[in-house]
Symmetry: C2
Subunit: 126 residues, 2 copies
Amino acid sequence: MFIGELSRRTGVSPRGLRYYEEQGLLQPERRASGYREFADSDVATVRRIRVLLTAGLNTELIREMLPCVADEGAILAPTCEEMTEDLRRERERLGRSIEQLRAAHAMLDSIIHVGESATARSGCDA
Amino acid sequence: MFIGELSRRTGVSPRGLRYYEEQGLLQPERRASGYREFADSDVATVRRIRVLLTAGLNTELIREMLPCVADEGAILAPTCEEMTEDLRRERERLGRSIEQLRAAHAMLDSIIHVGESATARSGCDA
DNA sequence: CTAAAGCTTGACGTTGACGTGAGAGTCAAA
DNA sequence: TTTGACTCTCACGTCAACGTCAAGCTTTAG
């Protein structure tokens, strides 16, 4: 498929997909015309990329680990010492990050709940 | 206290603290000399700011909700309709974000575990 | 009183993941 | 073959949360 279809099927803009290729996260075929030709499997790949990017990993790390991830968390290739060092660090960072998010989520929860019980009886001008 | 001490006690750089003030997150007193004078309570405030920033909230939203948060998730002021709208949205975004992080965390876990069992028997050159 | 250490306000630089045209070539249906 | 939608490669713009000088005042220990 061309870039437009992959874009529609993943929700990632064409510019974003070209950026992913530039960063080595995607390696589409090329027609004689220069048009990129993506495989069906790239839809899943892009989804995985999105998950990891949203988690705060950068494209360099994703490029390294991407060959090791398949659908649904299954694994393909064995990993290397040096790389798992980075991964381990990232995992720890992620763990802390999740904790922070949970704390912030709890903060929002309390505030919102108080707001609900408070707006019933107090006028507000902000 | 002056900005340097607050910096040491929070781990946030002076530049960061000035930025927080510029964004309306802190309102230190000023000496005649122009020196900022922070209150002890600002240490806790900065910690709360860090939690929320790490959670991905921007300074604008934090400025709005900060008056409503006290120590340990306790609440001070009542909230406003319009604001809780934003907060609700942010809470939902946070919820999704946490899910993404968990997914990414699981990915890293699988990869790392395979790496551990695999590196024992396979040479690696990356 | 002095000198080091600390603080002030600008103001420009950085980073990552894209957004946003510009100008030109390509595809596919009619 | 036309035409309109799609794609290509530059290449500069963006945004948030600071980093990093620079030039000049302030504080405070000795």
